[in-house]
């Protein structure tokens, strides 16, 4: 009972911060910069939560999440520009588009184990990034896309900055609630079994390949939603927003927060978005800081802020099983 009320209290606090404290702060200072920053923090909280499902819970080291974020953003932007699809339709389509691409690339890669899978996701992320960059006819390449319309619901334009903030907050919080339900369910336990010992999970009657493809798609769906939110709130996207550095940034958020913990991933996202802004002086050293933070956390706080698994043991096992040849003597395959 006390366990339950404590959990409710956590959610209440979260709701209060997101819907009362933060908007009050934003309205009081009324600066565009703070609005941008809070929206960015919410979007990355969702991205970190989406990667938490694949890497933190299911144990698949995924180095290309930013690409699915990009697919979502481009689907939303292109639908809006070319077909004048409204936000309320474009948003779910962006998620579904990213999930569809994820299923296509997951089918051939899910048989790969450990570090080979990680390298494959890295390659997929780069390929999608290069497509966004070079398919000039569709994506305008490095010039990026400018969206004409903002966030609107069934013809009603939320227009004002505070309105945009509330729409993003509601969508992100609802998504986090769904991810929370997935994480703390028996379905989530089956995912954890993949992380702990997927061969053993297979012996328990779990169709491991199907489960992996499924969670990969669900994760990409939420990354796509985050991409659409980014496209609609900034009104301008370019391939640079979805490059490898962003994939690593999202991974760092999950590792800093602790593998397997959703609140951890969200706090990791807030830290890695807000801290570099607070320390703006470091400027171009931002990327080094992200890598350094992840490295230091892995070495000195292996469980992150609130993780279930030691990141050190996690990365070690992903590499070690590759050295041992994965399954059945066929290197890297199962």
């Amino acid at each position: 009972m006390s366990e339950l009320s404590r959990r409710n209290l956590t959610w209440l606090c979260l709701l209060a911060i997101v819907f009362v404290v933060a908007p009050a702060f934003l309205a009081y200072f009324d600066q565009g910069y703070f609005y941008q920053l809070s929206t960015l923090a919410l979007i990355f909280a969702l991205l970190a939560a989406s990667l938490h499902l694949v890497t933190g819970v299911s144990g698949l080291l995924h180095l290309g999440q930013a690409a699915f974020y990009g697919v979502g953003a481009y689907v939303a932007a292109l639908l809006s520009i070319n077909y004048e699809v409204p936000f309320s339709v474009g948003l779910p389509l962006a998620g579904l588009g990213a999930a569809a691409v994820a299923v296509l690339v997951a089918l051939p890669t899910m048989r790969l184990v450990s570090i080979y899978f990680a390298v494959a996701t890295l390659a997929i992320g780069q390929m999608i990034y290069l497509v966004l960059l070079n398919w000039v006819g569709l994506t305008e390449g490095p010039n990026g896309l400018v969206l004409s319309s903002g966030i609107e619901f069934f013809g009603y334009d939320v227009g004002a900055r505070i309105g945009t903030y509330f729409v993003v907050a509601v969508i992100v919080l609802f998504s986090l609630w769904v991810i929370h339900r997935l994480t703390h369910s028996y379905y989530g336990n089956a995912l954890r079994a993949l992380r702990e010992d997927d061969q053993c999970a297979d012996a328990m009657g779990i169709d491991t390949v199907r489960l992996k493809v499924g969670i990969f798609a669900v994760s990409a769906f939420f990354a796509g939603i985050a991409g659409a939110l980014w496209a609609y709130t900034t009104g301008y996207i370019s391939p640079g927003d979805f490059n490898f550095a962003n994939s690593i940034l999202i991974l760092a958020m999950v590792v800093v927060g602790g593998l397997g913990s959703l609140p951890g991933a969200v706090i990791g996202a807030l830290l890695l978005i807000l801290l570099p802004e607070a320390l703006r002086g470091v400027g171009d050293f931002r990327n080094i800081m992200v890598g350094l933070t992840m490295f230091l956390v892995i070495v000195f706080v292996p469980k992150g802020l609130m993780g279930e698994v030691s990141a050190l043991a996690f990365f070690r096992s992903r590499f070690a099983s590759a050295w041992q040849g994965g399954g059945g003597g066929k290197v890297g395959w199962r």
């Binding site: 379905y187 089956a190 053993c200 012996a203 328990m204 169709d207 969670i215 397997g260 279930e308």
Partner: protein
């Protein structure tokens, strides 16, 4: 009725026979031990039956269905559950969560059901998991991290996870490995109760007192071939078995 039929099953590694033309059938409700010297092919045979390795020849039928060529999870869903030789629990999960994985694999829960569905599936999984934990006596530590259990309790956890699948056939790969004499005796009594409750059990074991003490039937493998099959009394005095274990007279 035969629950499991192993028919002329072989497995070659680079031309070397690990399991060579082995046939036997196990009746529903039986308690069968599989013994043999090191490298006799016992674990390989278990892997062939449970779908972890492909057969080089022969057929395996379970509950009247041909299962060779099927994936391990498909075979598990037909009612076959196994444990592993070197204790494979999920260390970073709680005792209860470990057990629930066995139930969720069989009952099944989709992501959609987990988020928006009714609680019926979750309740079935929960009921099965608690029942399995009660049976092995780990219900009181259900919330503990599996990695923090003692070695002996981890063994029972692995069995609980297999029981949550509510299997017809339970395959135990060296359940007594690493246990002391009193723990082994306790485990033997436990395996007997499980069998009395109607679960067909097949176990690989080095500990002869365990096998000879509880099994109704013993199958002996040596160098991948079946060299003995019968009640413990028959097998114990079988010259071929003695030769495999103790060497020939003129050696």
């Amino acid at each position: 009725m035969n629950l499991l039929e192993v028919d002329r099953v072989s497995r070659y590694f680079d031309g070397l026979a690990a399991v060579d033309d082995v046939s036997f059938a196990i009746e529903k409700g039986d308690l069968v031990g599989l013994i043999g010297p090191n490298g006799a092919g016992k674990t390989t045979l278990f892997n062939l039956i449970s779908g972890f390795q492909p057969l080089s020849g022969g057929t395996v039928r379970f509950s009247g269905r041909t299962v060779d060529g099927k994936k391990p999870h498909a075979i598990a869903r037909l009612g076959m559950s196994r444990t592993f030789q070197n204790l494979r629990i999920f260390p970073n999960m709680s005792v209860f969560d470990n057990t629930s994985v066995g139930a969720v694999g069989i009952v099944g829960q989709s992501g959609w059901n987990a988020v928006f569905g009714t609680a019926t599936r979750a309740e079935t999984i929960s009921r099965r998991s608690w029942a399995a934990l009660e049976k092995v006596g780990l219900a009181s530590v259900a919330g503990d991290l599996a990695a923090n259990l003692s070695y002996g309790k981890r063994k029972y956890l692995e069995i609980a996870r297999a029981l949550a699948m509510e299997p017809e056939l339970l395959i135990l790969d060296e359940p007594a490995a690493g246990l002391n004499d009193s723990e082994t005796a306790e485990l033997a009594a436990f395996i007997k109760t499980l069998n009395a409750e109607g679960i067909t059990i097949m176990l690989v074991e080095h500990d002869m007192t365990l096998v000879m003490g509880i099994c109704r039937r013993v199958i002996v493998l040596a160098s991948g071939r079946k060299i003995g099959d019968g009640t413990p009394e028959v097998v114990r005095t079988d010259p071929a078995v003695l030769e495999a274990y103790l060497g020939t007279d003129d050696a």
